[in-house]
């Protein structure tokens, strides 16, 4: 295949990912990286570098739109990122140490990560009130921080007001998410959404939208390693970013109008996909499964 055909194919694939990603509250890297590794001839270094820039740009393009609508909430983000950034630094350092000290360590961690994702998928599958969680008690810290917000929900035809809770339980969870994000160079939207939704009780749309805000920070911080190692090529990054940017603008508008139930199924599908990919890759790393 001629080089420009790969570039064009990359553009159309990321355009599709861009439409889906904001609806699901993920940056798109979780779809881009495995798909590109499976179907494109680029080295994994360039794919991971491009995946991070693409996911970051997707989140940067859609997060402001969500914030203006009242869906992405800085009051939720502020305490969460204070914990997640510091643990992502630790994760990055320990991840590098694990890779150097134990060549197969990453494979075990990937399998563990896939299993955790699968458990979260099951929780999503069987939990009843995730679209608009009912909060009976607000913890003292959330009360003190006055975490609240509102948005206009077109599917209900009214303004929905909400508060969040359980910040004490959510902060260690975000520490774990930040640690994993730093270790694997991920935005970790798939993990942000369940914690925001199931632990803190944020409505699903608020959880997916605020997750996009968190991804901008996690991915931007992770990109610096790849840039400093030269794992970024204009030839791969530019068509990916252009595709995702155009797609994300379409996706962000669909996300605001779409029914929360459809987002739930999309998040679940992506979670299951990521779980299978992680377990498979982990097993492949241990020599127990063929490459994807």
């Amino acid at each position: 295949m001629i080089w420009w055909m790969w570039v064009l194919a990359l553009f159309f694939m990321t355009l599709g990912i861009g439409i889906v990603a904001p609806i699901a509250g993920v940056g798109g890297g979780v779809l881009f990286t495995p798909l590109t590794m499976a179907f494109y001839p680029f080295s994994t270094d360039f794919i991971r570098g491009a995946g991070l820039v693409m996911a970051m740009t997707s989140a940067l393009s859609s997060a402001p739109h969500f914030a203006k609508k009242g869906l992405a909430n800085l009051r939720i983000l502020a305490p969460v990122v204070v914990v997640s950034i510091i643990f992502s630094i630790l994760g990055g350092i320990i991840g590098l140490w694990v890779t150097n000290a134990f060549p197969q360590g990453k494979s075990y961690i990937k399998i563990g990560l896939g299993l955790i994702l699968f458990v979260v998928f099951l929780v999503y599958l069987f939990s009843k009130r995730v679209e608009f969680p009912e909060i009976r008690h607000i913890d003292p810290i959330s009360e003190k921080l006055d975490i609240h917000g509102m948005w206009y929900e077109p599917s209900l035809g009214k303004v929905v007001e909400y508060k969040t809770t359980n910040l004490l339980y959510a902060l260690p969870a975000f520490a774990g998410v930040g640690f994993i994000a730093g270790m694997f160079g991920l935005g970790a939207g798939w993990a942000n959404v369940p914690v925001l939704n199931l632990v803190m009780g944020a409505p699903l749309k608020v959880a997916t939208s605020t997750s996009m805000m968190i991804i901008t920070i996690n991915d931007a911080a992770a990109c610096w390693v790849y840039m400093a190692r030269g794992a970024m090529l204009a030839m791969i990054i530019v068509p990916s970013v252009l595709g995702i940017t155009i797609g994300a603008r379409i996706g962000a508008r669909i996300a605001v109008k779409s029914r929360p139930k459809s987002i739930k199924y999309l998040v679940m599908a992506i979670m299951l996909f990521a779980a299978v990919m992680d377990i498979w890759k982990g097993l492949h790393g241990l020599g127990l499964a063929p490459p994807i």
């Binding site: 080089w3 001839p41 680029f42 080295s43 994994t44 270094d45 360039f46 970051m56 740009t57 940067l60 393009s61 997060a63 402001p64 739109h65 914030a67 203006k68 609508k69 009242g70 992405a72 909430n73 800085l74 009051r75 502020a78 305490p79 990122v81 204070v82 950034i85 992502s88 630094i89 990055g92 350092i93 590098l96 003190k144 921080l145 917000g149 509102m150 206009y152 035809g157 009214k158 303004v159 901008t216 920070i217 931007a220 911080a221 990109c223 610096w224 390693v225 790849y226 840039m227 400093a228 190692r229 030269g230 794992a231 970024m232 090529l233 204009a234 030839m235 990054i237 530019v238 970013v241």
Partner: protein
């Protein structure tokens, strides 16, 4: 843009709006600065890595790619800043702007925060972000340098 119907009832924090405004502006600036030089690059104008060379070696790891194309490994950001006259390197300036956009957005939130608690929380987040950049750059540079020495 004026809100319509029930959307008028929505109140969004000033800090959230400031965060969104700065993010919108710098994302556009970053994308434009990334795309314009890239158009010239795709037209074959003054590249650092010619398109045919990139195509030939893009299957290799980043280290091997740069060894084959330029004869040396990349450890740090000099590959961009030393070649700003080259269209593909200039395009990376746009990416770098995108990479600092969340930091600038958080700082905008600090300025517009309604109370001291959020101002402090966002300021800590901004400082941690800067620390993260420094640590990760240092890790990339030192580990890359070690690999060069080993070779």
């Amino acid at each position: 843009m004026e809100k319509k119907g029930p959307e008028r009832e929505i109140r969004v924090d000033e800090m959230g709006l400031a965060f969104a405004k700065i993010m919108t502006i710098f994302t556009i600036v970053g994308i434009v600065l990334m795309v314009l030089p890239a158009i010239a690059y795709f037209m074959g104008i003054n590249p650092y890595v010619p398109l045919t060379e990139a195509h030939k070696y893009w299957r290799l790891s980043a280290n091997d790619f740069w060894l084959n194309v330029t004869g040396r490994k990349v450890t740090g950001y000099s590959w961009i800043f030393d070649h700003l006259d080259k269209t593909d390197c200039l395009s990376m300036i746009g990416v770098l702007i995108l990479m600092i956009t969340p930091l600038l957005s958080i700082l905008a939130g600090v300025v517009k925060a309604e109370n001291r608690t959020y101002r402090i929380l966002l300021l800590i987040a901004a400082l941690e972000f800067i620390a993260s950049i420094l640590v990760k750059s240092l890790v990339a540079v030192t580990s890359g340098a070690k690999k060069v020495v080993k070779k």
